[in-house]
Each structure stands twice: as C-alpha cells, then as structure tokens.
C-alpha cells in the first residue's frame, strides 16, 4: 500500500478546493446542450382543442407526460415518485388507459389521504395535457402504491 505523502496530500486538497473558472465559463452552454437533447418516448393521443376542426392529430410523448407528473408531485406533496408507468389500450397502443405510480412517503403522513390527493392531481394533469375527448374518457384508473416511507422529507432521504 502506498504510504500517504503529507506534501502531496496537501497539494491534492489545494487542487480540490481551487475554483474551476473553465467550468463556470461553460456551465451555461452545457445546460443548454442538455436542454436541447430530446429523450425518445412513445406517442400518446391527445385531444384537439374543442372547436378545432383542422385535419390531423396531436400526440404527446409519454416521456413528456411522465416528466410533468414527476415534477409536479414532488413539488406539491411531501412525497417522492420513484416510478410512473402508463397502461395502454389493448387495441390502440397510443391510447392511455391508466397510470400506475410508486411513491415514497413520509412517516406521519396519512398515506390514504395523500394517495387521494396524488390521484386527483394526476387526473388533472393528464386531462390538461391529453384532454378528454378520446374514448378513454375521464375514467382512466390511477393506481398509487406507497413502496416506502422514510423519516422526514423523502427528497432528502437516501435509499436503503
């Protein structure tokens, strides 16, 4: 095993603490490049705005819907979504039939009440993003499973 060298150790800690102006200069362009990078997803039927009679159709990627749900749920409630799965129609695999969510909650929270709020929020968001004129209508099942509970804020707790 290599003997620790006090001088090199201190030099390394100095290098670690030194600012990286090169990173500061490029960080905005790195973020812009990431934001411009699409993630491929599966198209979901979306209803046109009522009164719109133009030919054609509207689709929204499942990735877009999943990202909105994940962000809104963790922003609104003391919980952490860990999986969001979509269920598709047997005959039309672009038609959303249901949503299943795995959630980490927090000790002290009424999980059933939280589950109700999550289901209502998901229904609102799906309606807002996809509309409701498709045959799936307003009755898509939304299932919530609490897969874990942690002490304190689930966004600040490490997984076991």
């Amino acid at each position: 095993m290599t003997e620790p060298d006090p001088l090199l150790s201190r030099a390394a800690s100095f290098l670690r603490a030194a600012p990286e102006p090169g990173w500061d200069a490029i960080s905005d362009s790195v973020l812009a490049a990431v934001r411009a990078t699409p993630q491929h997803g599966w198209p979901l039927h979306a209803a046109p705005i009522p009164g719109d009679t133009a030919p054609g159709s509207i689709h929204v990627s499942d990735h877009v819907l999943r990202a909105i749900l994940a962000r809104e749920l963790r922003r609104r409630f003391l919980c952490r979504p860990t999986a969001i799965t979509f269920i598709f129609d047997d005959r039309d695999d672009r038609l959303l039939r249901g949503v299943h969510l795995d959630i980490t909650g927090s000790y002290g929270t009424e999980l059933r009440a939280l589950g109700d709020h999550i289901r209502a929020t998901v229904a609102d968001i799906v309606h807002e993003v996809l509309g409701s004129s498709d045959t799936a209508g307003e009755n898509r099942p939304i299932d919530v499973t609490f897969t874990d509970v942690v002490t304190g804020d689930p966004l600040r707790s490490t997984e076991n």
């Binding site: 290098l15 990431v34 934001r35 999943r66 990202a67 922003r75 952490r80 709020h117 966004l155 600040r156």
Partner: protein
C-alpha cells in the same frame, strides 16, 4: 392549481433539489425531471472539468468532453440502474469520451531543467505559506503532466476526487489492484519530481 389538503397530508414548502442526495436526483431524472438532472450537472460539472483538464491537451477539448458527457448521461439515464454510484458512472462516461477524443495529453518527456529552474526550497519549511505556492503548484501540474495517462487519471481520481480504488477501477475498466498499482507508481514518481519541495 392549489389543492386543499386534508389534515395529515403535508404540502411541500421546500421545493428545491439542490441538497437532495444523488439517488433521489437519479430517480427523479430517470422519470424525466430536468430540474433534477440540472442539479446533477451543477454538482459534478466542476469535478469532471477538473479531471478533464488534467487529461486533455486543450481547454476546448475539455469543454467538448464535459458537455458530451452530460448529454450522453441524459440520454442513457434510463439504462442506468445504480450498479455504481452516480459519480462513478459519470466519470466512466467522461473517461471513455476522453479516450475517444484521441487528444489525450500524452506523457511529456521529463525535463530536469524544469525543476532545476525552480527556486531552492532549502529555507522554506512550508511551501503553502511561502511566496512560492504558485511555483510549487506549477511544478505539481507539470509533474502530473509527465505521468502516463492512466497513472495520472488514477492519481487525480484518488487524491483530488477522493474516489476509492474499486470506483477508479470501474471508471478505467481495471482491477482494483491494477488501480492501486498505477496510483503507487504515480505517487512514487511525483515524490521524486517534487523532492525539492519536501
């Protein structure tokens, strides 16, 4: 749209992710939460840049590699199951990008005159408190640049980034003992190159 919460359901008041643990960020980012991924970029960007700067020839190469690393990470997140730490995974992507660029800073021939030109440290008991700090760090950077790439990568990840040998081995696709060997040889060389500062 605000939701009236029943008692016992706690609405979130703190919505930021800046201090969230890595695995929380990873899970959120896999679900497509870009804000979570941007925290990952801010957390590990400086480390990857610092590593890349010691491995590549030019600052523009470093900028390209770090940007490509995060773009690739964003695309590949869905396939990352957490078998390694997030940091190790990012360093592994970065390390492969560095090799792919073929612009690695090659080991430079040792130039004894370089260190001869540095001021004598006979009267300087602590180079970190003396006026020669900059010269010492310059000598260290030069000595690092003289190391073969794998030795340099191993030393930087171990000593500067405080990674374990198994983590370094994953990044460089070596055995942990192989990583230890590279680190040992790098340290021995650096001691010799910097002996005037001891």
């Amino acid at each position: 749209m605000p939701i009236a919460l029943r008692s016992g359901v706690i609405a979130r008041t703190e919505t930021g992710l800046a201090d969230a643990p890595d695995d929380v960020l990873r899970t959120a980012a896999i679900l497509g939460d870009r804000e979570a991924f941007e925290v990952i970029v801010a957390r590990y960007g400086p480390q990857l840049y610092r590593y890349g700067r010691r491995m590549l020839r030019t600052e523009s190469d470093v900028a390209d590699v770090v940007q490509e690393t995060f773009v690739a990470a964003w695309r590949q997140l869905g396939a990352f199951r957490g078998a390694s730490s997030l940091r190790t995974w990012l360093f592994a992507i970065c390390s492969r990008k560095i090799v792919d660029t073929r612009r690695i800073k090659r080991a430079q021939p040792i130039d004894d005159q370089l260190l001869e030109a540095l001021p004598s440290t006979a009267a300087v008991s602590d180079p970190f408190t003396a006026a020669s700090n900059a010269a010492f760090l310059g000598a260290l950077e030069q000595a690092l640049a003289e190391l073969p790439a794998r030795q340099r990568a191993t030393w930087v990840m171990r000593e500067v980034e405080l990674m374990t040998f198994p983590e370094i081995a994953q990044v460089l696709q070596l055995s942990p003992d192989g990583a230890r060997g590279h680190h040992h040889r790098a340290t021995a060389t650096l001691r010799i190159r910097l002996r005037r500062w001891q």
